[in-house]
């Protein structure tokens, strides 16, 4: 059944990816009110960070056989995108980061969206833990083939 990606590695990749998503979500929530000057490179406004997930596929040279039965090898975060949506403008001329019209650019982060994503990511993380445990139980049971 070959290949170098065991069931453990696949579940571990899922755990890592969802964990990274959770970290980004936490970062987004923490920076909801981080303003900045839009045209000032030293003080950029915070932009929402979004992970891009992609599945890992085993390459032909990794496996011993020429046509493996199954090439799926988990998931990874290929990039972290910055949301390019326009920032939320709030009129506040007294703010140090207000532009010439008196608007302050707040990051376009919606707390409800982030919470929903957090729940999805947490649920996926837990599912990956369950998958890992199932693989572990099966492997331990296989050790008993030779016993008695």
């Amino acid at each position: 059944m070959g290949g170098f990606f065991s069931a453990f590695a696949i579940s571990a990749s899922g755990l890592t990816a969802e964990r990274m998503r959770l970290d980004l979500i936490s970062n987004n929530i923490a920076n909801m009110n981080t303003t900045g000057r839009p045209n000032d490179p030293a003080n950029p406004p915070y932009r929402r960070r979004i992970p891009v997930f992609a599945q890992i596929l085993e390459q032909a040279e990794d496996t011993g056989t020429s046509r493996p039965l199954f090439r799926g090898a988990g998931v990874r975060v290929t990039r972290v995108l910055e949301d390019n949506n326009p920032p939320r403008l709030v009129y506040d001329p007294t703010h140090p980061h207000a532009d010439e019209k008196g608007y302050v650019a707040y990051p376009n982060i919606n707390i409800v969206n982030e919470m929903v994503n957090m729940i999805t990511a947490t649920r996926a993380y837990e599912a990956n833990v369950t998958a890992l445990n199932a693989a572990k139980e099966m492997a331990l049971k296989a050790l008993e083939i030779g016993r008695g």
Partner: protein, 97 residues
């Protein structure tokens, strides 16, 4: 209740059993050679799979466990056959002519 010695039911019967002189001997040694070859193959396979598992080529431990168990049973069978053969030889040797 008589427990049949384990060697008997599992060995294939020699095709021609008492008809040619030493006929039992010829096919018997072939049989032994085959058995030893199978035993060797089983052990080589078990060793090979074990190494492959620890280098990561084989992902499923059950394949290693199965190969090891089958090699062990084949070895056990070979030892029992050897014991029976020696017993049988000794019995023949002890016969009063």
């Amino acid at each position: 209740m008589q427990v049949l010695p384990a060697g008997q039911p599992l060995l294939p019967q020699p095709a021609v059993s008492g008809e040619k002189r030493g006929g039992g001997g010829g096919s018997f040694s072939e049989m032994l050679n085959n058995a030893l070859k199978k035993l060797n193959d089983a052990k080589v396979n078990a060793d090979d799979l074990t190494l492959k598992f620890f280098t990561g080529e084989v992902q499923d431990f059950h394949q290693v466990a199965i190969a090891m168990q089958e090699a062990s049973l084949t070895m056990q069978l070979a030892v029992e056959v050897r014991n029976k053969v020696i017993e049988a030889y000794q019995e023949v040797y002890r016969m009063q002519v």
